[in-house]
Amino acid sequence: MRILIVEDEPALAFRLQQALEAAGFAVDTAYDGENGWHLGDTEPYDAAVLDLGLPKLDGISVLSRWREAGRDLPVLILTARGRWSEKMQGFNAGADDYVTKPFEMDEIVYRLRALIRRASGHSQPELACGPVRLDTNGGRVSLDGQPLQLTAQEFRILSYLMHHPGKVVSRTELMEHVYDRNFDSDSNVLEVMIGRLRKKIGAEMIQTVRGQGYVLSAPEAP
């Protein structure tokens, strides 16, 4: 899952990025409204954390422009402005959640996970596909009830596939949602990661559709 942070305070942006990466997200950061709007408009993020008081272009305008252009990524507004009239303004502009500063990092992670899960059509916090279960609240994966140890990259790939079970996910799509924009997409690291995942959860769980991509599905009961 890939997140966009738009926050002009560098120290805060850095800590946010750190915390979100630790929680298993790929993160891009923009430090002003114009850049943030541009990234959100051109890259396929799974969610955005948006500050309201931004240089160059304020957060509400960024959000309104995204929504007008049909960008429907979940947006969490993170701002110091906590009055209800200000919250209503944010929600009316198309926000999906609103957290006021100062805040707890855990809450941001929790809320982002819930936003992403609901945006891909899952109402329950636990996603299941055959023997594999993903607890979206805690960011934990289990296989046949046993905790499964995954690296950050493996987790992101599996998490994205778990959010879209039974759907063919192209290589490009997977790359875009799993790696931040500084990642060199020409390497064949994705194939390596898929191979490792297959070893851990069973090769039959992730099928390769030739020329199209990958699909995650529960194996037929024998």
Binding site: E9, R15, Q18, A80, W84, Y98, K101, A114, R118
Partner: protein
């Protein structure tokens, strides 16, 4: 505060009335004196004429006796002590007198050939006007003294009648003028009274500044007042913006420190202090916004329904994980008189709190009551115990300190309710949880 001066209308009316009273009194006195003087003068002329008639009729008989032929025709000279008398005396000691004098003699003054008028007491104690003189008979024995007297009561009665008439006429005139003065003062000072009512409205927060046109003399005052009010509003607005900017500005560094803290082990004390700072900022920010926002742009009417619906939609997103059933049934006519921001803040905090505590359902209803509105926010959560509800109603702002989970929300709501002149009641909902009843005038 110095002792209040008498009112302007009081001064104007008192000055006008005193001046009028003095003029009326002087005028009345002059008129009364002039009337009495002219009546007395005319009375004197009558006496003088009668005196001449007596002189003309007085003769000395061959035997030396004095007679008055053709005595005066007036019968009052024949009635005893009627107040009308004449008397003729000769140097020889002979005396003739009117029948009305009977056996009384009026003392005479030594006189000359000119008529001499004076006042004298009559036999009955009446106040007489006396006219007397000497004259020489053609073949007589020297100077004869003649006197005629008449009761002044007649003159006095006439003067009294005139004075009565004069007093009532002047009194009526004075009354009419007093009424005119009152009307004039009332009408003339009307703009000042209007200004006072305007200022009252400003004080009550019903209006931001003095409105309406004032006459030339007062308009500069109103303009100066408005300038002061505008300046005042601007200062408040600037202070509010300042507080807001400061508090909001502090929040981001706090968030940064908080985030750094999370990455540092053993930061317990710092974290506690950080939380305390956080709460302090929220508290004062909320309060500053609540107080500074009060009473500005009065006359604004905000429909409750769209605000409540917007908040419900926002809360549905914020509490999406809980799958709450937030139902808003507010008639379109329900309106709040005040700031849209204040309404949003009160409703938002109450509804958010209800969502926090609710198991499944939150209900928001409202109805217009008179000119105001009553909004009820209910949930099916644990609610307040009767003791908690009682002390909440009694102490208002203390509730947040005794009830976990209310946070700062309630103290902000309580401030806003107080500033908007409303009331806040806590009860039990038929949903099972807390019912907060918000009455806004």
């Amino acid at each position: 505060m110095s002792r209040p001066l008498p009112s302007l209308s009081g001064r104007l009316v008192a000055a006008a009335l005193l001046w009028m009273l003095a003029l009326l009194l002087i005028g009345g006195a002059v008129l009364a004196w002039a009337f009495r003087d002219s009546v007395e003068r005319e009375f004197g002329q009558r006496l003088d004429a009668m005196l001449r008639a007596i002189i003309a009729g007085t003769e000395v008989m061959p035997d030396g006796a004095l007679v008055v032929n053709r005595p005066l025709g007036d019968p009052r000279f024949d009635q005893i002590y009627s107040g009308w008398y004449w008397q003729v005396s000769s140097p020889g000691g002979r005396l003739l007198r009117s029948r009305s004098l009977w056996d009384q003699t009026l003392t005479t003054m030594p006189g000359g050939d000119e008529v001499f008028f004076h006042q004298h007491q009559g036999p009955k104690g009446e106040n007489l006007l006396v006219a007397e003189r000497d004259f020489l008979l053609p073949d007589g024995d020297g100077r004869v003294h003649v006197l005629i007297a008449a009761d002044l009561a007649e003159v006095a009665a006439g003067a009294r009648r005139f004075n009565l008439l004069l007093a009532s006429a002047l009194g009526l005139l004075g009354l009419g003028m007093a009424v005119a003065v009152l009307i004039q003062v009332r009408y003339g000072l009307g703009p000042l009274r209007r200004m006072m009512a305007d200022l009252d409205a400003v004080g009550q927060g019903e209006r931001p500044r003095l409105s309406g046109a004032y006459p030339r003399e007062v308009a500069p005052l109103a303009a100066a007042m408005n300038a002061v009010l505008d300046k005042d509003a601007e200062l408040i607005e600037r202070a509010r913006t300042h507080v807001g900017n400061l508090a909001h500005g502090l929040k981001t560094p706090l968030a940064v420190i908080g985030a750094e803290m999370a990455a540092t082990p053993d930061a317990g004390v710092i974290k506690t202090q950080l939380d305390a700072m956080r709460r302090l900022i929220e508290h004062h920010l909320g309060r500053a916004a609540a107080v500074a926002g009060a009473g500005r742009n009065p006359g604004e009417r905000v429909a409750v329904a769209p605000v409540a619906s917007d908040i419900a939609a926002a809360l549905a997103k914020i509490f999406a994980e809980r799958g709450l059933d937030v139902r808003v049934t507010v008639p379109d006519a329900a309106c709040f008189h005040g700031h849209a921001e204040d309404l949003a803040e009160m409703l938002g905090n109450l509804m958010e709190n209800a969502c926090k505590w609710a198991r499944r359902r939150v209900r928001v209803s409202a109805e217009g009551v008179g000119d105001g509105v009553v909004i009820v926010v209910e949930d099916d959560g644990p609610g307040l115990s009767p003791q908690q509800a009682a002390s909440a109603a009694g102490r208002g702002k203390r509730l947040d300190e005794m009830t976990e989970g209310w946070g700062l929300g309630l103290s902000i709501v309580a401030d806003l309710v107080a500033v908007n002149g409303g009331t806040l009641d806590f009860g039990t909902s038929d949903l099972g949880g807390l019912a907060v009843r918000l009455h806004l005038p």
